[in-house]
């Protein structure tokens, strides 16, 4: 840590002792006792004076030292701002100085601390050309305007600043919230426009960093103390509930990946003739998948497949019915289908597959058997459900409120479109099988359908 260059002077207006900590850019120091603003570059000449001498109740004071982001900072200045539109809305900005990292700000409002640094690589010209857009992209992150522009006015100043501040000086501000605890502030004064990158800090850590007594903090702020910081909730560790949900989601995600990787082909035959074949299942993990596929529905309808273990018939299926115990697929295929997928929980062992073709033809039928298969449609909705249940906890931890709303709306919108789409497909299928198909097959007429009521 670098040694601090401290200079002691006397206020040229009231004679009070003042300590100077700041670097070469400091232009003024404002006396904490009489409010005189002294010119650092002209023999501490009085430039102006602040009438409001009663400092607002804040936990920090000039000269305090604390470590933020691994850097030792000294509080060298203090400005109290008020919103012009809502004068009761006030906040304090403490100017920080480090001999290596220069200047920063610690913004304090209602128990919440922000660490703020001026950035110079923000595309300000583009931002101005676009007339203050609602979203901006900066340093690989999106930021969303939190509200419209507002005007801040200086009410009170103490200590060192790099410019001459007057009571009533106004700045127009635009705030943008980003992911995590980051935000951007664009501040436009009559002299220049500056951009600041902010990071919400854990309030207890700020108190600890500046060696503040907890009693002092509670005495000053009452219920607005440490726990009131919204930033803390963003930074708070994940709850047991959210962790549990994440664990479940992780397990399901692994299952999803496994479902793509684990299926193993154990049998395949393409034939136009009946057959009897032995199939060995080596793994009883997950399910065994039997796929029967024909070039057309007509061909498929002429087949009958039976699965035996020894002489015991485990399962059989044809166009009319499926007879089974221990099967997941309880019904058979419908006319019009040219394939059927059968998922069965089979213990390891050797099985016999009998394929019967009622009406021989030259068209070939494919029979394929995979072991260790998982059914995605069972996993994906569960995964989505868990993701939705875990979202509130994740949002608090990783997203600002605005970003959380956007992501939430997108998620709900996506889910809505998904289920709406499924509903439309189901409705169309119902309409087809109950109305269109019977009419096409001549079982009923359009007139009968329309007069059904």
């Amino acid at each position: 840590m670098a040694a601090e260059n401290v200079t002691a002077i006397q206020c040229t207006h009231c004679g009070a002792p003042l300590t100077l900590h700041g670097g070469g850019r400091i232009a003024t120091v404002t006396c904490s006792y009489c409010g005189s603003v002294l010119d650092m570059n002209d023999h501490y000449k009085v430039l102006t004076q602040f009438r409001e001498l009663q400092p607002p109740p804040v936990p920090l004071k000039l000269g305090m030292r604390g470590t933020i982001r691994g850097v030792a900072w000294t509080i060298i200045g203090w400005i109290k701002y008020a919103s012009v539109d809502e004068p009761s809305e006030t906040w304090s900005e403490f100017s920080l100085y480090s001999e290596i990292y220069g200047y920063g700000w610690l913004v304090y409002e209602a128990g919440v601390f922000l660490f703020s640094r001026r950035v110079r690589d923000f595309p300000l010209l583009r931002w101005e050309a676009k007339r203050h857009p609602r979203t901006v992209f900066y340093r690989q992150g999106h930021f969303v305007a939190s509200e419209g522009a507002y005007v801040a006015e200086i009410e009170y100043v103490q200590g060192e600043l790099s410019w001459v501040a007057h009571a009533g000086d106004q700045t127009t501000c635009w705030d943008y919230n980003g992911a995590g605890r980051r935000s951007l502030s664009i501040e436009k004064s009559p002299q220049e426009t500056e951009v600041y990158l902010n990071e919400t800090l854990l309030t207890p850590r700020v108190y600890s960093a500046f060696s503040l007594e907890p009693d002092r903090e509670h005495a000053i702020h009452g219920t607005e103390g440490i726990d009131a910081a919204e930033g803390d909730t963003e930074r708070a560790p994940l709850s047991t509930y959210t962790r549990g949900m994440l664990l479940l989601a992780g397990v399901l995600l692994l299952a999803l990946l496994a479902s793509l990787l684990t299926p193993k082909l154990i049998f395949q035959e393409v034939t136009s003739r009946p057959f009897r074949r032995m199939v060995t299942v080596d793994s009883d993990a997950f399910l065994t998948h039997i796929r029967l596929k024909a070039p057309s529905s007509t061909v498929l309808d002429t087949t009958h497949l039976t699965l035996y273990r020894g002489d015991h018939e485990l399962y059989s299926i044809d166009r009319r019915a499926a007879h089974t115990s221990d099967v997941l697929l309880q019904e058979t295929w419908k006319h019009g289908d040219n394939a059927v997928d059968i998922f069965i929980k089979l213990p390891t062992g050797t099985y016999r597959l009998d394929l019967v073709v009622f009406v021989p033809s030259r068209q070939q039928i494919s029979v394929t058997v995979y072991e260790r298969t998982m059914r995605l449609w069972l996993i994906v909705p569960l995964f989505l459900l868990i993701a939705v249940l875990a979202f509130p906890g994740l949002k608090r931890r990783f997203l600002s409120s605005d970003m959380g709303k956007i992501v939430g709306v997108m998620a709900v919108g996506t889910a809505g479109i998904y289920w709406l789409g499924i509903g439309v497909v189901v409705a169309l299928l119902v309409l087809y099988f109950t109305v269109v198909k019977p009419v096409k097959e001549g079982k009923v007429s359009w007139q009968e359908v329309l007069n059904d009521d």
Partner: protein
Amino acid sequence: MGTMIVAHAFFYCTDLGLCYNGTMKQRFETPWKTIHCPQCGAVLPLYLAQTKLVQCRQCHSMIFLEDEAVRVAGVASVLAPEPSLVTLEEPFAYEGVSYLPLGKIRYGYGRGFWEEWWVQNDEGAPYWLSIDEGDFALETADATHPYTAEMLEGIGVGAMLPGGWVVTETGTGVCDGFEGSLPWEVRIGETYRYLQLTDETTRLRTIEIDTGGIRSFTGRWIDPFAIEVR
């Protein structure tokens, strides 16, 4: 699978610039050539062929390099030590690229100062790192520029210059001194005028004006918290 993991781990390490202390330092430790101080005989390593001025670390003589000859041009006062994130001939890394500081010039203004560090990256390319009380910028010297003394006369903040450049800051500084090696002669005590410009893409351009002429540098602002030092 095992081979892939090893390969990924290697690239991960290199991409983050975490290996620079091990590999890049060795590369930096091989100077382009060494000379002996004509005054005291100390060995002085030169890392870049563009080097024109060196300060002897032992006797603080200012040594000019003219083709193969070296010439002592007096003794420069030693700069007062000031805390800095970077140190002469100690590598640092930024965004996965390693840099070696070779020399620095300190300019004073009012009650403060800023420093211009001449650095080379791990491919031997020279850069200028400007450090002004927490504001860090990395620039390269422009081989050519369109600026003339008449064009820059009386120009102020907000003025537009060819190429979509907007002047954001102007000022003057006095050269307080230098350390290490530099690509050109500096005149200690001379006043420099500078203009800082930006364009729509947030690029940075600095124009320096002194009795030696006009120099232009183009680069960008960088985040000091992203600089990795040992």
